[in-house]
Each structure stands twice: as C-alpha cells, then as structure tokens.
Amino acid sequence: MSPVISLRGVGKTYKQGALEVEALHDVDVDIAEGEFVAIMGPSGSGKSTLMHVLGCLDVATTGTYTLAGMSVGAMDEEQLATIRNRRIGFVFQQFNLLASMPAWRNVELPLTYAGVGRAERKDRALAALERVGLADRAEHRPGQLSGGQQQRVAIARALVTEPALLLADEPTGNLDSASTADVLGLLAELHASGRTIVLITHEEDVAAAAERVLRILDGGIQHDSLAALS
C-alpha cells in the first residue's frame, strides 16, 4: 500500500536576518494509511516545523513531500490552501474556535471554503458533531463549552471534510487530565475506524496513545519506534 505521507530528504531553513537557521535536515518518513503516529521532541527540536510542513502550512526548502499521491513542493499558496482544505484536518492546542459562532457553524467552516452548499454543510457538520458525541451541543457557543468539549468540536471540524490526514498539534496541551483522557480516547477511536492521525506532543503519556512514535532532535529523526521494531 502506498503511504499517505512520504517525506524524502526534507530540509527547512529559516532566514532570520543574516542568520540562517536550519530547523529540519534530511528527513525521510513514510506514514501509511490508518497509522496513528506521535511526533515527539523537546521545544526547538524542529517538531513544529515538521508539523507545519506536514500540514502544508509551510513549504520545505529541500527534498520532496508527497501527500496522498500529490507532490506539495511545487504548489503556490492558493493550491496549498486547497490541499489543506481537502486533505488535512487540523486540531490545535488553543482549539482555535470562533467565539461568535455556535459549534455547528465552527464545524462547517472548512466546508464553506470547499464550496459545499448550505444545507449539506449543516447536515455534515451535525453528523461530525454526533461522531464526537456533541450532537446536543450544536447550538452552543465555544464559551459555553468546557475545554474538552471545545477540543472535541475542533476535532469534529477537522473530520468534517473527510481528510486523508488528521494533524493534531499538542491537542491536550490546554486540557486537564480527565479531558486529556477524553480527547485521547476519541483519537484512539478514530484510529480504530481507520483514520490516519499524526499527533505532535512533548508528553510521553500522550505519545503512548499512538502506535508509532517518531522522536525528533536537532532537526532530524532520532528514533522511529517502527524502524526499531523491524
């Protein structure tokens, strides 16, 4: 089976004034469909940069990145936006819900940019909310929901477009332990139903929820649990 994600020799260099910072160098990773991968590393290790590259929020300076069969490297901003919209579902540490909108309208947001009609959008948004167990909170605004519930709304938003990849960046970083367990349980459930999930974290117990762990240090992959097994 061809991998959903394939990184070959990926490097990323930032220019900070005259100074060049190499955040990633020569990264080779394949992630197959249905995998639940945790990317771990201390701050400054390059895991955020890797997440940005994987999420098509940023483009690698060297190497190739193939997502669901498409080469991302040559894309312009417009095409990247479309790729993010169709192929990737984001879950952020800060939830990033729009406070002025009820939950279901937050969830339908990616569909708006995909040009889906109004009635279908609402149906799909409500179905996604039901999937994360919040069907009865559809009309609640983010401020009326607990942190764990907000993150579940964000996961529903990430799922609503049926993306090839669910990319969660420290999704439990702002949650108490009960909500953390709740969210990790939901991710495990989604994994069980066949979703491809990439989880970025710096906490060992969160990474433990994944079946494969990639450890990043100084811009390169230090350890891949899958490679270690084989």
Partner: protein, 410 residues
C-alpha cells in the same frame, strides 16, 4: 466561497463587535448626512430662486439706465442718470423697429404712502402701461388692469397687489373704493392675483398706476418722461437674442451713442439673472458639499483604522481560516466585504438621518431641502465605495499574512 457566504461572514463580523462597528459607521453616517443636507439645501435654494426668477415673467428683458460719460470723461455708476424715457419705450414698441419684441412696459416706481379711510400703508407705487401685466405675467384676482385709455387720460385709477388690498381694506372688496396715493385720491379698479415674493421685491405688495398719473402725482420732479426700467418680452424664447440685438441697436441709435462700450443703458435678460443665480448657488453648494465631503473622508479613514485594528486583533482567526483552506483571495474578499458592509450600513443610516434631519430642518428654517432619489442612491454608492477603497489596504495585509505566523501569535 461565494459572494453570499462572504457577505454573511462580513455581516457576522460587523455584528460581533457592535460598539466598534457602530462607532466606525458613525463617521460615515455623519459624513453622508452632512453631504445630503448641504446638497439638498443648495438644490432647494436653487429651485426657489429659479421659480422666483421665472415668476418675473417669461422671455423677459429688462432695460435699465446705465452709466453716462460726462464731458470731463468721468463715468458715473449704473443708474446714476435717468437716460431712459417714455420715448424710448414708444420706439421699442414699434414692430418695424423691433419685430422680435412682443410687449414693452416702461415703469417708474417709488415708495409712497396709501390711505383708505383710517387704514394707512406704505408700499411701492409703480407707474406703467397695460403691457406690464403681459411682461410680468400678472393676472387679476378681481376687476381689471390698466387700459390704454387710462394712460392717455392720466386717469386717477389704481390696481392693488393682494397684500396691499388686504392691508387697506381687510376682507372688503376694494373695487370702486377710493385710495389716497401720496394724498391724491385714486379709484381702485382691480386687484392682482398673488404671485409670491421674488428675490427682488414682494410682488404682492404694490400699487400700480398709469405711467403719466404716477409721473405727475407721485414722482413729480422735472424729468416727467424719465423711466426707471423698461420691461420687454420677446415673441419667443428663441427670439430672445434677436430681440436683445434689436433693442440694443435701437437704443444706441436713439441715444446717439456710436460705441456700444459707452452705452448709457444696461439690458439684462432673465436667463442672465438665472445663470448668475444658478452659478452662485451652485458654487456655494459645491463649497459646502466639499466641506461635508471632508468629514466623509475622515469617516473613510476611520474605516481603514478600525479594519487594521480588527486584523491585528483577529490575526489568529485569519490564521485559522487559512489553515482550514481559505485562499488569500478569499481572505482579501472577506475583509473588503466587511469594510464595504461597514460603509453600506453607515451610508444607509446616514441617508435616513439626512432625510429626517432634512425634513425637520426645512420646517425649522423655512427653506426647502431637496433630497432627490439620485442623491440618495449616490450617497449609498459613495459610502460603499469609501468602505471598499479604505478597506483595500487592510484586506490585502490580511491576505498576505502567512498562516503559521498568524496561528503562532498570542
């Protein structure tokens, strides 16, 4: 994302920050209302002046005594010499001399005191001929106007303006009654229908006498054939320039003036008065509207200011929308529409305020304020345009934000 979605998103964003949006709109609102009021006031004044000038009579030419050049070469000001006479008027009434002139009415006038019984009223006494009613487009409420016979016989008869008649006789009909004009008894033969007041004089407060009667009994003096103005009408509007030429040529010949630059009379056409008045009110309106327009500009800068603040404040939202698949074009359009919605809402509110304030103000100051549908539509279009123009810069700044920078910011 289609336009309807974009406009809905824009409207939601405007509603999400009610106070701030309201204050921003206030800038546009005040500007639009101010422009509408000043333009409306200008147009109202113009309409009033035009109708007043038109009420003078149509196709009118007015000949007034002009300056004379003395033997010492000193030129007097306009009206310093009584160079026009009844003879001039008689000559101009000759169809062979001035074929394009339809009617000629020489006039003299002076303020005089009228007495009827115990009632006493000071008004403008005008001495003229029957054609006066034609050239000044006056009609009678009752009785008759002056006749050629009245003029020939120096008859002691008077036609009163409606206000004058009311002041002297109250509700009673003045017909056949006697009025003492500067002490000389005259018989009232007619009352004019009201014509309203012009910018020049109250046309309903006057007493009209046969020209020779007025010259003898009211004006007096030595030059009894002198007249203060000759009113003429051309046979048609098209004939007005021809009539102007004929009158000029004839009067120059009669007064033995060879150089038209030294003419001792002035001919004013109604159109010239109208043009002058229109120019003046137009210029005044433009100046006022310009000042009001500056407040509109300030309102527009307010929109830009608030949009920039809004973008800084909503940088995470922009980042999120980009992460979820909004292209730079969609973001730019969203913020442009938001600015446009601010402008539109401010414009509509401004138009409503303009119409309401216009109605109140026009009753308060007794001046008509014309708010035309074109101006209303124009004001709304302009306010949307201002929103869009001042939204371009903030919107493109939002569109250019890199998603990771936008998401990362705290």
């Amino acid at each position: 994302m289609n336009w309807r979605e974009t406009i809905r998103t824009g409207w939601d964003a405007v509603r999400a920050h009610r106070l701030r949006s309201g204050l921003t709109m206030l800038g546009i609102l005040i500007g639009i209302a101010a422009v509408m009021l000043t333009v409306g006031l200008g147009q109202g004044a113009q309409a009033t002046i035009t109708s007043q000038i038109n009420s003078l009579g149509s196709n009118l030419l007015v000949v007034t005594p002009g300056s004379t050049t003395g033997s010492n070469g000193v030129r007097g000001g306009a009206g310093t010499a009584s160079t026009l006479t009844t003879a001039d008027a008689t000559a101009l009434a000759d169809r062979t001399v001035a074929p394009d002139v339809a009617a000629v009415a020489p006039t003299v006038q002076r303020s005089a005191s009228l007495t009827a019984g115990t009632a006493n009223w000071t008004t403008t006494v005008i001495g003229t001929v029957p054609d006066y009613a034609v050239v000044r487009a006056r009609t009678l409420a009752e009785g008759r106007f002056l006749t050629a016979q009245d003029v020939a016989e120096h008859a002691p008869v008077v036609v009163l303006g409606s206000t004058t008649a009311t002041e002297l006789f109250g509700a009673r009909s003045p017909l056949g009654r006697s009025v003492a004009v500067s002490g000389t008894p005259m018989t009232v033969v007619g009352v004019l229908a009201p014509a309203g007041s012009s910018a020049v004089q109250n046309q309903d407060d006057q007493a009209i006498l046969p020209l020779p009667t007025a010259a003898d009994r009211v004006i007096g003096g030595t030059a009894r054939t002198a007249v203060q103005a000759i009113y003429l009408t051309a046979v048609s509007t098209e004939a007005l320039p021809a009539a102007y030429q004929e009158v000029t040529a004839e009067l120059l010949a009669l007064h033995r003036v060879t150089d038209p630059a030294n003419a001792d009379f002035t001919i004013t056409s109604q159109q010239a008065i109208l043009d002058t008045a229109t120019t003046i009110t137009g210029a005044l309106t433009a100046v006022l509207a310009g000042i009001a327009g500056i407040s509109l500009l300030v309102g527009g800068i307010g929109v830009m200011n608030i949009m920039l603040v809004s973008i800084t404040e909503r940088i995470r939202e922009i980042g999120l929308r980009k992460a979820l698949g909004a292209t730079p074009r969609v973001i730019r359009r969203q913020f442009l529409v938001e600015a446009g919605v601010l402008g539109l809402a401010g414009g509509i509110a401004g138009v409503i305020l303009g119409v309401v304030a216009g109605a109140l103000l026009s009753t308060a100051i007794g001046q008509p304020i014309v708010v035309s549908p074109t101006a209303t539509l124009g004001a709304i279009v302009v306010s949307v345009g201002i929103g869009l123009v001042f939204g371009v810069y903030p919107a493109s700044r939002a569109a250019r934000l890199a998603p990771i920078d936008a998401l990362r910011s705290e």
